[in-house]
C-alpha cells in the first residue's frame, strides 16, 4: 500500500507532448482532441511583436491531480470513482452511470468520456498497465525527453519524490479549493 504522487519539474517542459502520446499508446486512449488524459497547457503569449513576454508563455504539463480530497470522488452517486489502495483516484467503469457530475466537479478538467465504455475516464497513474506489470514509472514520466516527472510513493521517506519535495520548493494547482492534489509542481 503506497500513496502515489508525482512531482513535476515543469520548467523542463518543452511542450513536445511526448507524454500525451505515450499515455494514449500505453493505455489505449482514444484519439480525438477532447480525449486526453494528460496534456501540456500554454498561455497565449502576452505582448506585441517584438516585445513579447517570455515568462507569460511557460509550459504547464498537467493531468489528473490525484487529489487526496477529490471533488470528483465526493460527488459520485455510485462510488464508481474511488481511491484505490495506493491513493490513486480511479473510475470503476462497471459502476459509472455517466451522470457527468464528476466532470463538472473536477477543477482541473481532467475527466472525459471514453466512447467505448461510455463511462468517464481519466489518468490512472498507469495503475492497470505499467504498475500492474511491476514497473515503477508511468508512461508519461518514462518517455519524457527532459524528464519533467518523478513518480513515486509519498509515504516512503526514502523515495525520490519524497526527497524532491523535502528539498525543493513546490506548489499545487488551485490549492485554495482544498483538494489536496498529489501532483506537485517544483519551482
Amino acid at each position: 500500500m503506497a500513496r502515489y504522487g508525482m512531482a513535476l519539474d515543469y520548467k523542463n517542459c518543452i511542450n513536445c507532448k511526448a507524454c500525451e502520446v505515450a499515455c494514449k499508446e500505453e493505455n489505449g486512449v482514444l484519439l480525438g482532441a477532447d480525449k486526453h488524459r494528460i496534456w501540456v497547457g500554454v498561455n497565449e503569449i502576452e505582448g506585441v511583436w517584438p516585445n513579447l513576454s517570455i515568462t507569460s508563455s511557460s509550459f504547464l504539463p498537467s493531468q489528473c491531480q490525484q487529489c487526496d480530497n477529490a471533488p470528483c470522488e465526493e460527488v459520485c452517486p455510485t462510488h464508481a470513482t474511488y481511491y484505490d489502495e495506493n491513493g490513486v483516484v480511479r473510475v470503476d467503469s462497471d459502476k459509472c452511470i455517466l451522470c457527468s457530475y464528476c466532470m463538472n466537479a473536477c477543477p482541473y478538467d481532467a475527466r472525459y468520456v471514453d466512447d467505448r465504455t461510455v463511462t468517464v475516464d481519466k489518468c490512472t497513474f498507469c495503475s492497470d498497465t505499467r504498475l500492474a506489470r511491476g514497473l515503477t514509472t508511468t508512461a508519461c514520466q518514462n518517455t519524457c525527453p527532459t524528464k519533467v516527472r518523478t513518480f513515486g510513493d509519498l509515504d516512503d521517506p526514502e523515495s525520490e519524490i519524497s526527497i524532491l519535495l523535502k528539498t525543493r520548493d513546490h506548489f499545487s494547482l488551485k490549492a485554495n479549493l482544498g483538494t489536496e492534489p498529489k501532483l506537485f509542481y517544483l519551482t
Binding site: 520548467k11 514520466q141 518514462n142 525527453p145
Partner: protein, 797 residues
C-alpha cells in the same frame, strides 16, 4: 463492449474540416475494398491505440525511424501486435526518452494506407492507378518494362550501357547505404542525390572546414548559450534537446535565442531576439568585432590553434563590422550585440550552438564558419562544457565488390557550384539542369527509396516535370507518397519496426553502437530493404551483364582473358553478392569480430553496446542513468591537433570568400504588401512522412499559416480562415493563425503538409505544401537549397 473507433470516424470528428473532397480513383486505385479488408490480418490491431496488457510480452530493442536521430527503444509485442514503444535506457545518445513522434511510431507501422503489395502502374503517371502484382512481376517490370513504360534493360541498351542514365535518390536512414551500394556501386550510377543538399550541408561543411568537426555539445557543463535558427525544443535532436532544457530558465545555462519566430525554444530562453531572416551572419560578425575591439578573446588559444588568425582579426576590424553597422541589417539592437558578445566571452563555458537546421540563406556556409571561429575565440573547444570532438567508436569498414563500368559517364550537376559534392550532389542543380536540357547525356531512370522530393525539394512544379520526364521511375517506400505516385513500379518496404537494420555507431562524448531489431515480421507482403536489394540485384545481374558485355570493351577484354564466369563472380558483376548474409547475421559477424561475442550478446539483447557498458551503466535515479562515468567521457581528445581555420585560402580558388565577409545583397527586404515565408518544425511532425500518422495528426490537425496579429486584423483574417499563399513558383491554401509570435512582414508554415496523394487518407489535401511555394534558390558553395528566400502574397479566400 469495446467498439472500434475507426480512423474514418476520428477524421470526421476532428479533422474533417481540413480535408477537402476527392474520391478514390476507381477500383483499380491503390486501395480497393478487398485490400482494406485484409489489413485486419492477425498482426494488425483493430483499434488505433491498444492498451498494453499485463501478460506475456516480448521487449525487442529497436531504433526509431520517425526522424533522423535514431533514438533507441524497446517495442512491447503482445500476441504479435506492437502495443507500446518504450525508451531504451542503455543508449547514451537518446538517454531513455522517446519524443511524441517516437511514441507514435506504432501508427506508422499500422498505417492502413501502407503500401502492402508490389504495384505496377497501369494508368497515367500521377493518376494513382496501379495493379497489385507479385514481387517477381514487379522486378520483371523494372527489368523489362510493361506496355506503358520501358525497363532498365531496354534503356541501358539504348544508352549503350551508360549507367549514369540512372539517377537515384534516398532519404536518410539505416538502409540508405545499402541502396547506394545497389544503385551506385553495383549498378554503376554516379547520379545520386539525397537529403543532404536540402538539409544542413553547409552547416556540416562550414564547421568541418573551420574546426575539422561538426561538434557535439556538452550541455551539462556549459553556462552560456546562443542558439540561432535551430529550434531544439521543437526540432528535437538527441541528446541536445534533453540536456539543454534541463538547465535553461535560470538553472545553469543562460540562453539567448535568435530566431525570426517566437518558437518553443524562444519560450525557454532568457532572451529572444527576433532577427531578420538570413542576416545572422551580420550578428556574428558584429559580435566578433566587439570581441576583437575589446580584446575579449582567448588570445593564447587562438595564437596556438588559429590559422590566418591575425588576418581575420584585421579583416573584421578593418571592415568595421560594428554592432551599430549590424543593427539595421539584422534587426538586433547594437546594445544587445555588445552585451551578448561580452557575456559570451566572460562566461566560463559559453557555447554558440552549431546547428542543426536546414539552410535558410545563401550565406549559410559563411555563417557557420563565422560561428565556429567566434566559438573558438572563447577557447571553449575540445573541453568540458564546450564543443566536443569526442571519440566515436569505429566499426570495421565493409567492402563492396563493385564492377567498373567503362561506359558510365560522370555526374554533371555542377552549374553554379564552387565545390560540388561528389557523393550526393545537389538536388536542385541536378533536377534543374535536366529540366533545362543541360545534361550532357540523357538521364532516363530514377531509382528512389524513402524519399519524397515532391514535398521536400523546393519548387514542386519542377520536380513534377522532372519525374514526368523519366522513362522509368522506381520507388521503394512504406507509404504512397506524392513522389511514389510518379513511380512506374512501387516496391513496398517493411517499416522500421519490421526490420533489422545494419549496426551503427553513434556519439562522440559517450559513444555507443546500436542495432535496430525487427519487432515484428514484415506486415502484408512487404519486405526488408536489404532483401529487396538482394532480390532485385539477383534479377538484374545477368540480363544487365549481357548489356555491359555488348558495349563494355574492358569487360569484353576481361572475359576473353579470364572467362565469363570468373569475371562475373570476381569483379562484382554478380550484383547480389553484397547481400550474401541476412542483416542480423552480418551484424553479428561485424560486432563479434570487432568486440567479441559478449559484446554481440549485449547488443542483441539490449540494442546498445559500448566498451565497459556493464561496468559503467547504472541508474542514478528514476529518471537518470549514468552511461559513462565522468572521468571516462571523451571531453578532450584532440590535444594539439585541433585547428581553427580562420582564413581558408582554398575557398578563394573557386571564388568563395576565404574569410566570412558580409555582402549587402544578403540584406533582408520584402516588397510592400508581400511576406517572406519561413518554414520549420513542430515537435509532433518530422516531414511529409509523418503527416499521415493518426496519432500525430490528432495533436496538430493541419499546418496553419502564422501571420502577425496586427497585419491579420488589417487584412480581415481571423484564426481558422482559409488563406491562399502564393509565390512566383506556386501556391497553396491553408488556415490562418494570427499570432504575435511572428514579424509583420513574415509568415511561417509547418513543413510536410499539403500532400496530393489520394492514397494518404489523412494527409491528402490537408494544408499547404511549402516545397510547392519555395523558390529553388541555391547557395554557392555546395549548391544546397536555400529555404528562406521566397516572398509570397497572402489572400483570404
Amino acid at each position: 463492449m469495446e467498439v472500434e473507433i475507426s480512423r474514418r470516424r476520428f477524421l470526421q470528428g476532428s479533422v474533417a474540416l481540413t480535408v477537402v473532397g476527392g474520391t478514390m480513383a476507381g477500383t483499380t486505385a491503390l486501395f480497393s475494398e478487398e485490400e482494406k479488408a485484409s489489413s485486419a490480418s492477425p498482426r494488425v490491431p483493430k483499434t488505433v491505440t491498444t492498451k498494453t496488457g499485463t501478460g506475456k510480452a516480448e521487449e525487442i530493442p529497436f531504433l526509431c525511424g520517425m526522424c533522423v536521430n535514431k533514438c533507441a527503444g524497446f517495442a512491447r509485442v503482445e500476441g504479435g501486435i506492437i502495443t507500446k514503444l518504450d525508451p531504451n535506457p542503455y543508449f547514451p545518445k537518446s538517454r531513455n526518452m522517446l519524443c511524441p513522434r517516437g511514441n507514435a511510431g506504432i501508427q506508422t507501422a499500422y498505417d492502413p494506407d501502407r503500401l502492402k503489395y508490389p504495384l505496377v502502374r497501369i494508368g497515367k503517371r500521377g493518376s494513382g492507378k496501379y495493379k497489385r502484382v507479385s514481387w517477381e512481376e514487379a522486378y520483371d517490370a523494372i527489368l523489362n518494362g510493361t506496355k506503358l513504360f520501358k525497363g532498365l534493360k531496354q534503356i541501358l541498351d539504348e544508352e549503350k550501357d551508360n549507367r549514369a542514365t540512372i539517377g537515384y535518390c534516398n532519404g536518410e536512414g539505416l538502409s540508405k547505404e545499402g541502396f547506394e551500394t545497389l544503385v551506385g556501386q553495383k549498378l554503376g550510377s554516379p547520379n545520386y542525390v539525397d537529403e543532404v543538399s536540402i538539409c544542413l550541408e553547409t552547416a556540416g561543411g562550414g564547421f568541418f572546414a573551420t574546426l575539422g568537426v561538426y561538434p557535439e555539445i556538452d550541455f551539462e557543463h556549459s553556462d552560456y548559450l546562443i542558439i540561432s535558427g535551430a529550434n531544439r525544443a521543437e526540432a528535437i535532436i538527441t541528446p541536445d534537446t534533453m540536456d539543454m532544457f534541463k538547465r535553461t530558465k535560470g538553472r545553469g545555462i543562460k540562453t539567448v535565442c535568435i530566431d525570426p519566430r517566437f518558437t518553443n525554444t524562444a519560450a525557454k530562453a532568457d532572451k529572444w531576439l527576433p532577427v531578420n531572416p538570413g542576416t545572422d551572419l551580420a550578428f556574428v560578425l558584429a559580435m566578433t568585432w566587439v570581441v576583437f575591439n575589446e580584446k575579449l578573446q582567448n588570445e593564447a588559444f587562438m595564437k596556438k590553434y588559429g590559422v590566418g588568425y591575425e588576418e581575420y582579426k584585421k579583416h573584421i576590424l578593418s571592415h568595421k563590422y560594428t554592432p551599430e553597422w549590424a543593427e539595421p541589417i539584422c534587426g538586433i539592437k547594437a546594445k544587445d550585440i555588445y552585451t551578448i558578445a561580452r557575456e559570451f566571452m566572460n562566461a566560463e563555458a559559453p557555447v554558440y550552438y552549431p546547428g542543426r537546421r536546414s539552410i535558410f540563406s545563401p550565406n549559410d556556409y559563411q555563417l557557420r564558419r563565422a560561428m565556429a571561429i567566434f566559438q573558438a575565440l572563447s577557447g571553449n573547444i575540445d573541453k568540458k562544457g564546450g564543443y566536443i570532438y569526442g571519440n566515436p567508436i569505429i566499426l570495421p569498414p565493409e567492402y563492396v565488390n563493385a564492377p567498373i563500368y567503362a561506359q558510365a559517364k560522370p555526374r554533371f550537376d555542377t552549374e553554379g557550384i564552387a565545390f560540388p559534392t561528389l557523393k550526393s550532389g545537389s538536388w536542385i542543380v541536378f533536377r534543374n539542369m535536366i529540366l533545362e536540357g543541360k545534361n550532357p547525356y540523357p538521364v532516363r531512370v530514377m531509382m528512389m527509396r524513402k524519399h519524397n522530393p515532391m514535398m521536400s525539394v523546393p519548387n514542386t512544379a519542377k520536380t513534377r516535370k522532372f519525374l514526368e520526364k523519366m522513362d522509368l521511375n522506381v520507388m521503394i517506400d512504406i507509404l504512397p507518397s506524392d513522389t511514389a505516385m510518379f513511380a512506374d513500379v512501387i516496391l513496398p518496404e517493411a517499416s522500421y519496426l519490421e526490420r533489422t537494420s545494419p549496426v551503427k555507431s553513434y556519439g562522440f562524448l559517450e559513444p555507443a553502437i546500436v542495432q535496430r531489431k525487427a519487432a515484428i515480421k514484415p506486415l502484408y507482403e512487404t519486405k526488408e530493404p536489404e532483401v529487396i536489394f538482394k532480390e532485385l540485384a539477383e534479377k538484374l545481374a545477368k540480363p544487365l551483364f549481357e548489356i555491359s558485355k555488348k558495349y563494355d570493351k574492358d569487360l569484353q577484354e576481361q572475359i576473353k582473358l579470364r572467362g565469363e564466369e570468373k569475371v562475373f563472380e570476381e569483379d562484382g558483376w554478380n550484383l547480389a553478392d553484397a547481400w550474401e548474409k541476412p542483416v542480423h547475421e552480418k551484424n553479428k559477424e561485424i560486432v563479434e569480430k570487432a568486440f567479441g561475442p559478449k559484446a554481440w550478446e549485449i547488443l542483441d539483447e539490449k540494442g546498445v553496446y559500448y566498451p565497459h557498458m556493464e561496468e559503467y551503466h547504472k541508474q542514478l535515479n528514476p529518471n537518470e542513468f549514468q552511461y559513462y562515468p565522468k572521468n571516462r567521457r571523451f571531453y578532450s581528445t584532440m590535444g594539439d591537433k585541433k585547428r581553427v581555420i580562420c582564413k581558408y585560402d582554398h575557398l578563394a580558388t573557386r571564388g568563395i570568400d576565404p574569410m566570412p565577409t558580409w555582402h549587402d545583397e544578403w540584406k533582408f527586404s520584402v516588397p510592400e504588401g508581400k511576406f517572406r515565408v519561413i518554414t520549420g518544425r513542430h515537435a509532433q511532425f518530422t516531414q511529409s512522412g509523418t503527416t499521415n500518422n493518426a496519432m500525430l495528426r490528432d495533436l496538430i490537425p493541419t499546418n496553419y499559416l502564422w501571420i502577425n496579429k496586427g497585419v491579420a486584423k488589417k487584412m480581415g483574417i481571423e484564426f481558422g480562415d482559409m488563406v491562399e499563399i502564393k509565390s512566383e513558383v506556386g501556391q497553396g491554401k491553408l488556415m490562418a493563425y494570427p499570432t504575435e509570435k511572428i514579424a509583420p512582414n513574415q509568415v511561417f508554415m509547418l513543413h510536410g503538409f499539403g500532400s496530393e496523394s489520394r492514397g494518404l487518407e489523412l494527409a491528402y489535401g490537408n494544408g499547404a505544401n511549402d516545397a510547392a511555394i519555395l523558390k529553388d534558390d541555391i547557395e554557392p558553395v555546395f549548391g544546397a537549397a536555400v529555404m528562406h528566400s521566397t516572398n509570397v502574397e497572402i489572400r483570404k479566400v
